[in-house]
Amino acid sequence: MANVYVIEVLAVVLALYTIAYIYYGRRILHEKVVRASAERPTPAIERYDGVDYVPTNKYVLFGHHFASIAGAGPIVGPAIAMAYGWALPLLWVIFGNIFLGTVHDYLALMASVRYGGLSVMSVSENVMGRKARYVFLLYTFMALILVYAAFASVAASLFRVNPSAATMSILYMPLALLMGILMYRTGIDIRISTLVTAILVIGAFYYAYKIPIHLASGWDAYHIWVLVLGVYSILAASLPVWYLLQPRDYLNFYLLFTFVIVAVFGGLFMANKVFTAPSYTSFSPNIIAGQPTPFWPAIPLIIACGSLSGFHSLVASGTSSKQLASELDALFVGFGGMLTEGALSTFAVIIPISLAWSAPELVNMEVFKESILELKAVPRFTAGYGYMLGKTMESLGLDFASTYKFFALLASVALAMFVMTTLDTGTRLARFAWQEIFDWLAPINRSLHSFVTNRWVASAIVVLIGTSLAYPTIEITLPGGKTSTVAAYNVVWPAFAGVNQMLAALALLTTALWVYSVIRTRGAYSALVMVPAVFLWVTVTAGLSWWLIKVAPYGNLATVQRYGAGAIIAFSLVLSIALLILFMQALVRGKQTPGTSTTQ
């Protein structure tokens, strides 16, 4: 393949995203399919409660939404997928982002808004019946427990090996809280509040750069961080959204946007450089559990958030829909948030790793011996990001080695912020699912219902179960007979990834049915939702089946991973088939009602 310059990839991706936002998002989904209107009051206005239902400035809400959906997925997934070369991961990010992820996120947000802020699981009851709702809720609650366990384990591992990231996280949360108090309590203008807090955040970053926090040695530190994060998650998930979650995520938006903009800046400085990574290595390199992993259907099990993710529908219909001040803000928040996440994967992960692939500077610094593929996903990402920005700074006359270290730390801190946000938002969403599961109890025993669904009790239940999965470390046997201790996420992550993507398929089927049967948009516009929904269901079902047939029996898995994750994935498949049957039945019923919008 001919040399590919960075500028060519940047230009193509930005052009595609602009066209997607204006024509696909605004002209079709927003105006023709959903027919959003400023006249229709949102749940934040109609059901305001000062805790979860709170109308919010669209930029603040964008910050919350983007920071919540952008967990470690858009970083770790593409970094792993670089084993295919750069072309296939980039193709999946762009294709999935535009045709699956944006549609999924935007429709989950709008369907929830039209149903008074209900979760996408409760929307399924309205379009597929009561059985679907409870099955979907239970499934989602389990998925969110896995999300909690995976991210608590990732965060604790990150803090263990990079104590400066822990320092930054400890300092950052009180500063976010200060931002909320400045904004809402003192009435100080949002721009001044932002400026004051941003200066303090920069100071905190400098402090964290110099001063690490040590809790204990080795794996003891991991265990203690898991417990500390558990208490933090109960607090953060139970306090009102305006208090910590909104301002924190708003600040996160600046941090993460800076992170992406710095990456674009680096990309522009490297515009005349060519990718040193191969565009294509193999259709089936050894990736998952050391097994040959075919790009299709396994890619959704590897690249999640940067392309699409079921967790997004829970955020969109969980916290974001309850804070949307106007339906007209939904395009910017839901559709724009997903495009920004795809940009994060492209500019901050795929392009930097493609440049740093076999960089002699990194070989000399002993980051790797021959190729960046020798590194695990997280250091692969930080090394790529650090390299691209280090080379940029070198071209401006600064020292490569020190700027490389600085930007690699920035990448670690950004990742820590992503992970912490997903952790507490996931806990809040699991609390919502738990509260909805027990709604049948209210008319039978009101006091018991109040206790079981109390926000502190519900958050504590989620955290206790999640912590019990995240706390243990695991002894694995490596090829050659040596043993190694690894964190729990090595077991939990594949199960989380598979269940998460199936959740996306189910949410997309639900919203496709909502478009078809409830708002009765028909013809080509309806097909723009229905076709991606069916394609995704088929792909994820094939991917999970592949995992069960090819990976579980033969992969280098621990026993608990083989049977634990295997059972969850088998359950997911059965459930997805059950929901597909309910979907087909509801579709047939929906066909009997006339449409309100058809196209040629």
């Binding site: 805790v51 402090y207 040590h214 933090y232």
Partner: protein
């Protein structure tokens, strides 16, 4: 000041003092805590962190007027 607000103020201010003390000490020592075991400074920092996160909710109440006004619920 109501009892709830007073408790919130005490919790917040104590938490801030704990955090600032440990942060200042860490700045002069070059690190916070110990790589051997959880020491007093690390425990105090984590405790202060939780207090600072939880305290202001009690101190200031749960829904500020600006948030209520945005929802059309008066001020």
């Amino acid at each position: 000041m109501e009892a709830r607000s007073a408790v919130g103020a005490v919790v917040t201010i104590l938490g801030l003092i704990f955090m600032l003390y440990v942060l200042a000490k860490g700045a002069s020592a070059g690190a916070i805590g110990s790589e051997e075991a959880v020491n007093r400074d690390a425990a105090l920092l984590i405790l202060g962190w939780f207090m600072v996160l939880a305290g202001p909710a009690l101190w200031f109440g749960e829904a500020p007027a600006k948030v209520r006004r945005a929802a059309g619920r008066g001020g």
